[in-house]
Amino acid sequence: MKFDSPAQTNPIDQLKIVGKPTPRIDGPLKTTGTAPYAYERHNVVPGQAYGYVLGAGIAKGRIKAMNIAHAQQAPGVIGVLNTLDFEPAPLGSQNTANLFGGAEIQHYHQAIAMVVAETFEQARAAAHMIIVEYEREHGNFDLAKLAPDAPLVKGGNGEPSVDSYGDFESAYAAAPVKLDATYTTPDETHAMMEPHATIAAWDGDKVTVWMSHQMIQWGKVALAKALGVPQENVRIDSPFIGGGFGGKLFIRADVVVAALAARKFQRPVKVTLQRPLIINNTTHRPATIQRIQLGAGKDGKLTAISHESTSGNLPGGGPEGAVNQTQLFYAGANRRTALRIAELDLPEGNAMRAPGEAPGLMALEIAMDELAEKLSMDPVELRIVNDTQVDPMNPDRPFSYRDLVGCLRRGAEAFGWDKRNPKPAANRKGRWLIGHGMAAGFRNNVLRKSGARVRLGSDGVLIVETDMTDIGTGSYTIIAQTAAETMGLPLNRVRVELGDSSYPVSAGSGGQWGAVNSTAGTYAACVKLREKVATALGLSGDDITFANGKVASGDTSFALSDAAKNGEIVAEDSIEYAEVNESHQQSTFVAHFVEVAVDAYTGETYLKRMLAACSAGRILNPISARSQVIGAMTMGAGAALSEELAVDKRFGFFVNHDLAGYEVPVHVDIPHQEVIFLDETDPWSSPMKAKGVGELGLCGVGAAIANAVYNATGVRIRDYPLTLDKYLDRLPKV
């Protein structure tokens, strides 16, 4: 199905099932421990041996020698996969760091060996027996030190690139009110609860991997390349994924070493990355240093906007795109954005939930708060006067639908924003300094081709097959809702099968694009199935309806299952998008409101209230969409208050590389969270008229918290996370 113009009225608009709060159809499995995750699939292949990965003990250099003799002789050991026995595995287009093979060490805890043994205990013990001799090389690990000389990132033409519009320098010089401030965000880690894990088994020259992966097709292509086999010889199966947040977008060492070992030792091999290895072995969200300059008139209207961000990565790795939203978010005739990148020898930086926007808005939305204060303007109002309905750098290009103002107004009203005291450090209750803060957020809606296959059985059950994944996002349920709505079936007559590379290629889970595209692809396949059903039943004409398990036209009515009584009817299609995303900018919007209490003695910050108002097109399932938003708000709370990978700048590694040292929010950190979805549709997005929400909730929430802390304490912190050591000396005397 080609989608090349705004959606008209279609079967989804019935909203009998789509749009209704629907408990997840996979809920009973997940809550009873019967949903199978990658490492625990004992039944898929017999004789699974256990792998245990050894990570490099240095950040940069070479392995001079590796003695695996003791490990090989250890009880139960089948063999040792030694990086020195392999050429570096060819890298997928989205990977930067070598995943396995060769003597060169590019980053700490790079996989350099894997012991395969009969039991987990034996493999782990033997891995500790390997003796490695390294030749350490000097590395660069300090972003702040390299930042002043970091070059501009090259643009599409290969030249260093600054995106500009109008004349920023002159407009900024002339602006009556100015802000020029620098903000920093730290390295962060995904910390999904399920570690990366794979079971690999070969059958001749074909390999099947049961793994935990967000993007099945990307994984298949990359793994085939890494193993040097044709893509059709690789099958990935990943029906349940214990969280990803971008950390499972691209294949990691687990699947490469599992597949290599399974081939070498002719045994199915299962491996999970041990938790203390994950942080340095896999990817992380890179730290940023961001300079923001804002110039405004006395009316608050922005006249000049500049946002420059510097981040680091391994040679060949990309920057954290922290300025992306600044090109589109607020009006303003003169603007410039730029990214700089420093070459670091830390582990690979790559996508983590809302890459770019998450750290970018943490900075930009403090800057807006600071500007509002300079203007003596309400920060909600400042954002309203700077709303734009067109792409500010291409004014002929409108937003497809944008109601940021609605988010701001509805959110402010529901939160009781008008009752806040704008004066900082002026609201004390006993030992608690109470503060209120807000911020706006923005994240694009990305359109990607997505396919599905639907099978109508003679029992009237409809099966949807797509390689789409459910990483906690609720894909199973919204795909079922879509199919049920389109085919006029009750939800319990639809079965959804996901995550298998033998199914049609979908958009996958990432960039908050999963929901809209995978449901649109399902819709496309169902529309094709409707045609086949009509033909099978001998119906024609424009009045065919699919409702209540029946297909009707005029006075004729059949049970849907009648169409398949002579055998299953199968239809397959994809949604494919034409120019709709170029003519119109598609984005999603949020306004965050937060109340904090800061201990006047110790500086401990507690969240008391959190509210988000979202503009994201049609909400397919208000239950799971809300969960996506509150979950992202929770991740943002961690980023604001406690999450930071501590860099050892001498030895080049993230020191706090486990879940005790890297502090993500726990239950008690998070208060009741409110989410408001504006009632809207965006017909430019797809037949679903929906947009993504999976990352939106993370966008801006950190700044809302930082602004609330400022309101509470009167101390402006521009360096995340806002740990108490950064402002203790500026709190009221005790």
Partner: protein
């Protein structure tokens, strides 16, 4: 994890003897710290003596009017004991500020005293650590040290004792009872139980080889208000940046001990004597501190946390 043989101890004295005679043997109680460290081969015992069946899981009154807490009383059972809650509230509050409900259900009174440091360099066997491998150096010095010690540390080790329970035991002047491999017993004041690192950070307590903790004895109740304030980056399930245990009398005098800053719960006589003067007490508690750039904030945090505790005591 290295392979190990396993035995269940039949008596405390026997357990002590076995561990004394086999330098690669360790006691196994709750296991929450030992097993964690065995998985990454920071701990490498080849024989474990499971002491869980020894029946040391009672809390009983002492003749002196205090309580004797068996070494195998779990953290949860100790914190929930009616007598502890009533008369030693600081102990309950310190215990429930630590770890998680699941861990406290497993962790024991004796084991908790022996909890090893959470210094990340101690946990990473690729890094130099004098505590883990004497003589190898200390990678934490000059490294990521925000969580680490500011006082009582040495140029060999800047780790802290990470626990909470012992900080409360320190204000209560508890006594650790042990049995030695020869069957004799002794009572170690909590003040002398944990050692400063000095040149031998691998030696963490006053226990001799094979010596086994059988109980912790609380002296008779002190009265006063019992408070424990643990400051951390998230609100639960995290180790302290600084913690303050205090027993404060109505006139503002009392006792105070600090966690999260030193190799042991940090209590200074002159600080107790200075109460209720917070500034003077804090000065006494942090006198001689040698913090790193990353953790010097703990000096101010000690004072501010103590001030908050004293304010709460007055309220």
């Amino acid at each position: 994890m290295r392979a190990f043989t396993y035995q269940r101890a039949s008596s405390a004295a026997e357990a002590a003897k076995v561990v004394y005679n086999n330098r690669e043997a360790k006691f196994l109680a709750g296991g929450t710290n030992l097993i964690d460290l065995m998985k990454i081969e920071v701990e490498t015992p080849t024989h474990l003596v499971d002491v869980n069946g020894l029946g040391l899981d009672e809390i009983a009154p002492t003749e002196e009017g205090g309580l004797r807490i068996g070494a195998l009383v779990t953290n949860t059972a100790c914190a929930a004991d009616e007598r502890v809650r009533r008369d030693y509230g600081v102990l309950t509050r310190a215990i429930v500020a630590g770890a998680s409900g699941q861990l406290r259900n497993k962790a024991t009174t004796g084991g908790n005293l022996l909890q090893r440091t959470r210094c990340p360099y101690f946990y990473d066997t690729n890094q130099a650590c004098n505590k883990r491998k004497p003589g190898s150096g200390c990678a934490a010095i000059g490294g990521a040290s925000r969580q680490l010690g500011i006082i009582g540390v040495s140029d060999k080790c800047i780790a802290t004792y990470p626990g909470d329970m012992a900080v409360a035991l320190r204000v209560l002047d508890a006594v650790v009872e042990t049995v030695k491999p020869d069957g004799t017993t002794r009572a170690i004041p909590i003040a002398e139980f944990h050692r400063l690192w000095g040149d031998t950070p691998e030696i963490e307590t006053a226990l001799e080889p094979g010596e086994f903790i059988t109980a912790v004895v609380l002296p008779k109740p002190l009265g006063g208000k019992h408070l424990y304030h643990k400051v951390r980056d998230r609100r639960s399930y995290a180790f302290a940046l600084v913690s303050v245990a205090a027993v404060i009398q109505p006139d503002g005098t009392g006792r105070v001990a600090i966690g999260g800053i030193a190799p042991k719960p940090w209590r200074v006589e002159s600080a107790d004597a200075a109460l209720p003067d917070v500034a003077a007490a804090a000065r006494a508690l942090t006198a001689g501190a040698s913090p790193t750039e990353e953790n010097k904030f703990k000096i101010a945090l000690v004072e501010r946390t103590l001030a908050g505790v004293m304010a709460e005591a007055r309220s």
